[in-house]
Amino acid sequence: MLATFARVVTPARGCSLAASLFFGAALLSAQVGTQYAEAGHFSRRLTVGPTPALLVEISSNGPGPYIATQLAPGIAATDPSANQSNAELQLLLTSIGVPSTPVLDPAVEYSIGDLARYEVALLLYSDWQLLEMLTYRWERLLNTNYSSVRNYFNDNPPAGGESSNFVATHLEHKEHAAFRANAFGTFLDLLEFSAKSPTMSIYLDGVENDASGGQEPNENYARELLELHTLGEDNSYDQTDVQNLAAVFAGWNFQRVPDAANPGFDTYEFFFDSAKAATITPGMQVLPQLRLNDGLGTPSNVTLTGTGQVDGEIVLAALANSEQCAEYICKMLYRFFVCDDDGTPAAQALIGQCMTAWGVNVGGDLDAVLTLLLNSPEMADPTNYWCKANMPVESILAPIRAFGGRVRRNSQLTTLMNLMESGCGQRLFRFGPPDGFTDVSVEQLGTEQSLFRVAAKLRAFLTYDPANLAQMLDASDNAADAAPEVFYNVFDLLASIGITVGAWTNETAIVDQILTVLYQGHHTAADHASATEFLARSPDGLTSVPLLTLATFVEEDSIQWGKQIMQTVAYCAAFAQGNQK
């Protein structure tokens, strides 16, 4: 233990010059961290949460360069492990074992839990945060449920003898990869991939939809395509449209085929089953209320050919090119990135501009829309700071990002994800209702949301095992590796926020730094006082032990300091602000 303590006085590792300068300045600030309010806002909107380095970067350069960089992820869009600077991510991805390219290879079988951990790892550590945030947004818009897919393959065993679990995971992974690859592409690409995805076909009953012989088509996909994916409820369609589209999409099915991208392996892909198709009269018009997104209100005149698969593709293209869809998705993106209230005059004006950027007959230019939206004055408007409640995944992962937590193993992710998924209900790839896990602010709040979000922070910062505290105080990687549930090395954590050993005895300075990196000054004086008093109490709270009294470095003191500081980090992360962004 003495050896452990000896490391205390060694120069802090991992403390970047930028972070030191940044937080050195913060210490002199009367208003804790408020100079990073703008950087914090853009960090919360474009990423899962700020890091000290990101706050420095955006604060120094303005948000524009960061936005531009994030909109061009390059190879990371197709190979998420490539072009990543964070060594923790590489370790974690290796530990999880999900390949960058989905292949139905039983030799590298992985589970849906692995895929979920893979997504969380990328959300946590990827340099391409906007890409990951959007990928997950498209996942939620075009939601499918792994369990439905798995159950289907339980009933219809894969011809290659693979497990139903693996086939379902493989297909969810293919969909996930496509959403990432097209995150900044066209909306039509996303929509068409979803419509032709075996997972969607199973989830919303396309595989069951048989209109042959005058049978009643299954309305499930048609209704959600209009209500959830493209237009919004009752927006320019009625029950007749639902029934017509149910007929159009009858026969949209999938089959097992050789995987062209991975020779030697099979996969499942879309095919049109004409035996189940409805009889469509050539020249039949559907969706009569649809208008082209040309600013002129030109009717879309969606005219079917009666020749099978192409009619569904005509419908998808007409929807993606419609004014109504452009408005629906632009509003969705506005609510996701800016604020929930999309009805203000400023919001309406911006959404109108985004609809223009959507383009005419190009399928919805997402890159143009996002470039406009993210660089807009509304996006930067300080009245929109902190105007959203965040999702569990953001609330739980943001503090880990903020303090450089080391999540290196499946087991650590599992701990967090159990609290996120079982506790808070945000289940990745296994969310049942077709509207996906909502990001509407008012629906993020509740007593159970509060409890399990706080519990996740206690887990991350206290590790729920006091035996790990020694490892938490040991600066060596070997010691941390020996305690796989340890998320933090206290000294690394303090170094990452610019606290040097000499500043340890200054409770105010420590609380300043913690609150700055978490909330960039968005706290009350009472919050600050509360945190300061919390820090100055013994780990069980029963004794007041100001750090100032611990003037000499002895082993017991260092352990106690470590506990008190880590508790205080968790305490501040558990503030109500931790449920907002």
Binding site: S147, N209, N220, R223, W386, G425, E448, Q449, L542
Partner: protein
């Protein structure tokens, strides 16, 4: 909250902190004093109430097929092979010679059946075919507005139910509880002063607080860590300021801070009540067991909260705390395909539902130590199409079935007899007879697909609030169900044009 000071004073007296350590679990007898509830007109009811009047809500999410739940076999074309060729029910449990329960709902005992009111054709005019809009209307008690607003249960807690106090264990009480992972909209509120708790995981029947229980302890037994968590809670003066203080501090001016702090405070308070008043070894007072795992026939992993456990935990809250309304939810009633008929997916869920209802009925009704008079209410956002689709399923439709079970329910069938069932039904183009199951109407005709409501769900709510819970002031009820006052007054005054959908059913004693 209106009684915040009394709560804080109680907490500062240290009662909570002592109790939170698990040392001061009180005997059940010390709680739940039976009340004599008022009748709708304010006079005592005709018999002495056995215990406090309470409500257990069960929301079937996805749109339950009311036609196969309460089978109107007296409408003969129901069995026409073009209507429901693979999912028709040929052997319902006959109730009144016209309607019968699905055969899988076989858990009801004679006593249960006599206390089971089955109300067919419940919905609302121009009902939405969207799950999400429909559920929101049902849960807010207000049709045609999707603005963020209080749920109808949250409004009842604020306007009609007794204000919660402090329990004998020193914990702030609560009037309602959503027993579900995600706060159900019926219990939700965008108003900080109106927040109601949601308690998805109480802890197991042995009184343990496992990893997923509603507790910051998260299953740990380490004394040092338990002490640290007590410091986090900050409810004891001795441990200094903690989260309770933070949540009670003045909010930041940003949009959600006050609400987030209110839910945080309610989280700490609810944890106290759950830990000290509820989390103890538990044995049902009934013989019918709660269905285990998920709904039978489906893997448990489909359920964040296993349905049977959720119903049992709601009953625990109702029996052991002053909570008046508890609500659970169960999903995947959206059977667009492979619905099944007498057996299959729908049948499995209906069986589990009947088991859960019967188990709760017995558990609540047989408990002489913690007696309550609890009404179990079951609802769903819409029914399903009269005609089966090509996938062996049914699509979104309009009216469905509500159920009410309990000592104050008048057992029997409503809106499903030769007189009421055919009201509004189309005439079959061939036979000329009224039916909701005409095989001869074109599929494009809404009357060929949907059964339209005869009763608005809000009048069913009204009766539960007024007749069962004794909230009879129409001005108060208007705050809970906007528009209800005029609708009820029209009927009370015999106005000829009174909205027939708002005629009282009379399903309560």
């Amino acid at each position: 909250m209106s009684n915040e000071m009394s709560r804080r004073e109680a907490l500062r007296l240290g009662l909570y902190g002592l109790a939170a350590s698990g040392m001061t679990l009180l005997p059940r007898q010390a709680r739940a004093v039976p009340l004599l509830m008022g009748s709708p007109n304010g006079s005592p009811v005709g018999r002495k109430a056995l215990g406090p009047r309470k409500v257990l809500l069960i929301f079937l999410r996805g749109g339950n097929d009311g036609i196969n739940t309460l089978v109107p076999f007296g409408d003969r074309p129901y069995i026409h092979p073009l209507i429901r060729p693979t999912i028709q029910i040929t052997n319902p449990q006959n109730i009144n010679g016209f309607c019968g329960l699905h055969p899988a709902m076989d858990a009801f005992t004679p006593a249960g059946r006599s206390s089971l009111a089955l109300i067919h054709r419940v919905g609302y005019e121009d009902s939405s075919l969207s799950h999400f809009t429909g559920q929101y209307y049902w849960e807010t008690g207000q049709v045609a507005s999707l603005d963020a607003q209080d749920g109808w249960v949250a409004k009842a807690a604020v306007h009609g139910l007794p204000q919660p106090g402090v329990s004998a264990a020193g914990c702030p009480e609560f009037a309602t509880a959503s027993v579900a992972t995600k706060l159900q909209a019926a219990f939700g509120s965008p108003t900080p002063a109106n927040v109601q708790p949601n308690v998805p995981f109480i802890g197991d029947e042995a009184g343990n607080s496992p990893d997923d229980a509603y507790s910051l302890d998260a299953g740990t037994t380490d004394p040092e860590l338990l002490a640290a968590i007590e410091k986090f809670r900050g409810v004891q003066a001795a441990t200094g300021p903690g989260l309770l203080d933070h949540y009670q501090n003045a909010a930041l001016p940003s949009q959600w801070d006050a609400l987030a702090r209110s839910y945080g405070e309610a989280m700490i308070n609810t944890e106290c009540e759950v830990a000290n008043t509820v989390l103890a070894p538990y044995t049902s007072a009934g013989t019918q067991t709660y269905p285990e795992g998920g709904v039978q026939g489906l893997p448990a992993e489909n359920w964040v909260t296993p349905f049977g456990n959720a119903v049992r935990d709601a009953v625990r809250l109702l029996k052991l705390t002053s909570c008046v309304v508890a609500g659970v939810e169960v999903g995947t009633w959206d059977h667009h395909s492979d619905q099944g008929g007498e057996v299959g997916r729908h049948a499995d869920k209906l069986r589990a539902l009947s088991q859960a209802m019967q188990a709760a009925f017995e558990d609540l009704g047989n408990d002489v130590v913690n007696p309550t008079e609890t009404l179990i209410m079951v609802m769903s956002e819409f029914g399903r199409t009269t005609r089966e689709n090509s996938s062996g399923g049914t699509d979104h439709a309009r009216a469905s079935v509500m159920m009410a079970m309990g000592p104050t329910a008048r057992g029997g069938v409503y809106n499903c007899d030769p007189t009421t069932w055919f009201q509004g039904a189309p005439a079959d183009p061939v036979t000329g007879r009224p039916t909701w199951f005409s095989p001869n109407l074109p599929a494009s005709d809404p009357l060929a697909k949907y059964i339209f409501p005869l009763t608005d769900f809000r009048i069913v709510y009204y009766e539960a609030l007024a007749r069962h819970l004794g909230i009879t002031d129409l001005d108060v009820l208007e705050q809970i169900i906007p528009g209800i006052k005029a609708k009820v007054e029209e009927h009370q005054q015999g106005v000829p044009t009174a909205d027939p959908l708002f005629a009282e059913i009379g399903y309560l004693l």
